[in-house]
């Protein structure tokens, strides 16, 4: 008998008597979906939040935020950067990116998370090989909590989906918090409404 069939047979023989699956409430009555709540939650997770400049020049704003950045690679048409992501053939080519720029599909007020998939990233590694990540977020695209977030059709449609909540972090040595463990050193969210 194959391992598969043997395991399934033993599981079937040993599994306890049937038990019901409870319905899951969304627990979101009275919860805020405001950008302010999102901002507070993001700050607790070590993420930065910067309002967009009035002139709307995001390229100039990002250069000002990261004056030392040599390579800026943007996966959104709203920011040009200087490394076109369309030309990237293997993810490894992004190894020298200083600042990656991406637009999130939505945010979660409870945690300060942003939702991203291969459609937003074009090349997924942009969110992890870049030293710093700038995320554009439409302030009207915020859900209250994780129960609401997991109702999104993206989890059925996307090949890869990730909630990113602040920078890569570790506290594995003596509990000292370090930002930029293996992935991005900083995450900066800029609220920018989607152009219609």
């Amino acid at each position: 008998m194959s391992s598969r069939d043997e395991i399934l047979e033993r599981v079937r023989k040993n599994q306890p008597a049937p038990l019901p699956l409870p319905p899951i409430p969304t627990f979101d009555a009275g919860l805020s979906t405001s950008i302010e709540t999102f901002k507070d939650s993001l700050a607790r997770m070590g993420g930065k939040f910067v309002d967009a400049e009035a002139d709307g020049n995001l390229d100039a704003q990002i250069r000002a935020l990261f004056p030392d950045a040599k390579v800026i690679c943007s996966a959104t048409s709203e920011v040009k950067g200087n490394r076109p992501i369309e030309g990237i053939r293997t993810p490894q080519e992004l190894h020298d990116v200083d600042v990656g720029v991406v637009r999130a599909l939505f945010g979660v007020a409870e945690t300060g998370s942003v939702w991203l998939s291969e459609a937003e990233y074009k090349v997924n590694a942009l969110g992890f090989l870049s030293q710093h990540l700038v995320v554009l977020l439409d302030p009207s695209h915020i859900v209250a909590n994780m129960h609401r977030a997991y109702q999104h059709h993206g989890f059925v449609d996307a090949n890869y989906a990730v909630f990113m909540t602040g920078p890569s972090a570790t506290a594995d040595i003596e509990g000292i918090l370090i930002h930029g463990a293996q992935g991005i050193r900083t995450m900066t969210v800029i609220p920018v409404p989607t152009q219609r």
Partner: protein
């Protein structure tokens, strides 16, 4: 197989005083952060009940959900493999890699691959493995297993890490600055991510309705391990299945709050379909889980989501260190899981507990941990796996406690005796209890004497 002597092993840990004090404090800090995080959620207790019910339902219908997961993962383009035990798991991983000429593997943390002892198996066959989680990497470089399922190197101080890194990745042995050490590992690890032939993760959850593998990390190392190489292998214990995407809402809200006290891990990643031109392999591993499912008292331990809250709160774990358990899983959850792997080898572990029940009260999936610990003790004493001295002492106590008159006489004598016994008798090698403890000063009256004097007469008068 040699029996693990938890008390003996922990005495080594206890001798390093600064280590024990830090360990105790650090883990209690995590416990307190967990308390604060959960207090922010009014429905916390309801979430625990839901999480428990979802897991119990899934385990009661596990065969069907495993088939559903396999069906959907296959539809997504992933290859699904099944492993009866650790040896088969390791062989499958090696075969996948060697048939594709893959020699280097970057790994996110996975307790399952530790449980299967996969690293030495692959290394012997010429595969170069990079553990990319900082704590797990420290342990790999020090040739030690992880001592905690969430923070693998929590038993080490920064000076220990400086020693390990200076001997292995060439850092300055005198520099134990934590930022310097972490940055050094980042710089050292990066080239491996770029050149690795294959990436590997475990799974926190595997969703039956979509065939999705869900991995929660703070470092982003899982996403680097999966999103760069052309080959991705996920090792998943069969108990990690959950029915639907909506159930992630419950578990993701609880996991990091229970583990570290943060609202969510920095990254919560959902791998469903392999990137274009790459391969995704999923190895579903049994390794004793299907047997455990049939154990009436112990199948509940399969609900575990590996948050480590029970370890952080356990007074015995905090003061004995994870390595003293001599097993992949330590602390209260280890105490109830490990004997299912090998009863004789791990027969001392269920005694590494004060039965205070704190583990049970923080468990996000409501596993009755302390009750299971007590049940294991019964099984171990029934099967004659108790060490001699403990057994003798238990028999004498059993006789005393079943005969009230004898018990009272003994208590009176002991009260008088303790006062006058010479130290060499109280703290001898035969009395394990006396090794790290001083007997408190006995009160002038026993409870019974006090009761007879103060209450019994009043009661009688009523």
């Amino acid at each position: 197989m040699k029996r693990i002597d938890h008390a003996e092993a922990s005495s080594k840990f206890i001798r390093a005083k600064d280590h024990v004090e830090f360990h105790d404090k650090r883990l209690w800090d995590l416990r307190q952060k967990r308390d604060r995080a959960s207090e922010h959620i009014p429905e916390w207790e309801e979430l625990r009940t839901l999480a428990s019910a979802i897991k119990e339902h899934t385990l009661a219908h596990l065969a069907g959900y495993l088939e559903e997961f396999e069906r959907n993962a296959t539809k997504n383009g992933a290859h699904v493999h099944w492993a009866r035990d650790a040896a088969e798991h390791n062989q499958i991983v090696f075969d996948i890699m060697s048939s594709r000429n893959a020699r280097t593997l970057v790994k996110a943390k996975s307790m399952l691959t530790d449980e299967c002892d996969m690293r030495p198996f692959l290394e012997k066959r010429g595969i170069d493995i990079m553990e990319s989680d900082l704590g797990e990497r420290i342990q790999q470089l020090d040739d030690e297993p992880p001592s905690h399922i969430v923070v693998p190197a929590v038993h080490k101080l920064r000076t220990d890490v400086a020693r390990v890194f200076s001997q292995t990745i060439g850092t300055d042995p005198k520099n134990s600055d934590v930022h310097y050490l972490a940055e050094s590992q980042r710089q050292h690890t990066r080239p491996y991510f770029l050149k690795a032939d294959a990436g590997m993760t475990g799974a926190n959850f595997a969703v039956a309705e979509t065939g999705t593998v869900v991995v929660c990390t703070n470092e982003g190392n899982a996403d680097l391990s999966v999103n760069l190489p052309n080959l991705y292998i996920a090792s998943i214990g069969i108990e990690k299945i959950i029915p639907r995407i909506e159930h992630l809402g419950v578990f993701v809200r609880m996991l990091s709050r229970s583990a570290l006290g943060s609202a969510i891990t920095q990254l919560t990643s959902h791998f469903r379909v392999p990137r274009e031109g790459t391969e995704m392999h999923i190895v579903l591993v049994d390794n004793g889980r299907s047997e455990r499912l049939g154990m009436a008292d112990f199948w509940y331990s399969l609900k575990c989501i590996r948050c480590g809250a029970c370890m952080n709160t356990c007074p015995v774990y905090r003061r004995s260190g994870g390595l003293s358990y001599g097993a992949t899983y330590s602390g209260p959850i280890g105490v109830i899981i490990d004997p299912t792997f090998n009863l004789r080898k791990y027969s001392s572990l269920p005694f590494a507990s004060t039965l205070n029940g704190s583990c049970t009260s923080v468990c996000p999936v409501r596993i009755n941990i302390h009750e299971q610990i007590y049940k294991w003790r019964q099984i171990i004493s029934e099967r004659n796996q108790l060490p001699m001295i403990k057994k003798e002492a238990m028999q004498i106590m059993g006789k005393l406690l079943s005969k009230p008159k004898l018990y009272r006489a003994a208590v009176d004598a002991a009260g008088a005796g303790v006062e006058h016994l010479p130290r060499f008798m109280m703290y001898s090698s035969l009395n394990a209890w006396g090794r790290q403890r001083e007997v408190p000063k006995a009160p002038p009256l026993t409870f019974r004497q006090w009761y007879l004097k103060n209450r019994a007469k009043k009661e009688a008068k009523r």
